[in-house]
Symmetry: C2
Subunit: 219 residues, 2 copies
Amino acid sequence: MPPSRLAVLGGTGQQGRGLAQRFARAGFPVIVGSRAPDRAAALVAGWPDGARPIATADYGAAIERATVVVLAVPFESVGRLLDDRRQQFRADALVVDVTVPVTFGQGGPALAEVPEGSAAQHIRARLPAHARLAATFKTVPAHLLGDIERPLDCDEFVCGDSAEARTEAAALVQAIAGLRPIDVGPLARARAIEHVTLLAIAINRRHRIADARFKVIGL
Amino acid sequence: MPPSRLAVLGGTGQQGRGLAQRFARAGFPVIVGSRAPDRAAALVAGWPDGARPIATADYGAAIERATVVVLAVPFESVGRLLDDRRQQFRADALVVDVTVPVTFGQGGPALAEVPEGSAAQHIRARLPAHARLAATFKTVPAHLLGDIERPLDCDEFVCGDSAEARTEAAALVQAIAGLRPIDVGPLARARAIEHVTLLAIAINRRHRIADARFKVIGL
């Protein structure tokens, strides 16, 4: 089986950039999907050489060509993106939600309330029924991910709306050097994963570090 | 300064038992507080010898004597306990919430909704104003904690309603061999810690293990 054609929407953002480059190094054909594909192409041209060249496209073209669509846009804009583009997902698409709805108010970082329960469930409600959804890459620090020479050395939680979606998403996590996927079950667990990311952000700020992340012990 | 006199309410339950014995081994004077102190005394008499003998008392007497009160009763009963006993906390008491409101329904383990936001905030609303509150020991597996010869080898998140409460609670975590305290900030972060425990339970069930726990990398 050829490797998935992998679109990273928001692929020039901090987290998307790291994912796109690390997937390219892992041998995947990668398309960076952007609202501004010309600007994205100029940025991508400046990235260090990976194992494969990285293509760029607008959101619609990236979605239509991809068997895996990684949603690395800010949480605030993902609903609108999906409302505009939901018809364009391939029938066999696996969608990977990496968003975390963090707010920075008076009490420091917090998770925004999401009516559906989590960012992943918010996205599920806006995807076509045929698209499969998993949530992962929510916790690995974007800052570290984007510094592509540095080892990641952590675990990454995976949940999803079917065992098959989780297995496929776990294989994507496993493909990136230094990450171990941890299957935590159904999509409703996404909120717990988002809370873990909140803890990482809180730990970073409180302890003046940048790359707090997690390993599961005993597994 | 003499070590805190430490009451573990619900100290014969799985989590309380492990905490009581490990604190006694760490040199703290420990009182197991129980609804049934005679039965508790018989149970405690059968525990392996610790560094210090462990006393037993009913809830009221344990609370009145303790400078640190660990709430290791089930979440469902902690509100009633505090409603009955709130007058009895010492003026300088540090209260340590270790509860996690987990339910086991059709979708597997989940966190119960708590109107105050988290178990810790539910408890805060029922404590006298003078009592300080921290939340920790929520994530270390009760099963492992109770097997007191086994090393814990993990991190334990701490939040609390003041820097002082967090510092004191972190010192208690640090006093137990194999645990590293991680300060994550204000009490409102307790929900995130409770979600981490949910993930540990989900990982245990899914991967047929018993002692999933966490370490923070990068700190």
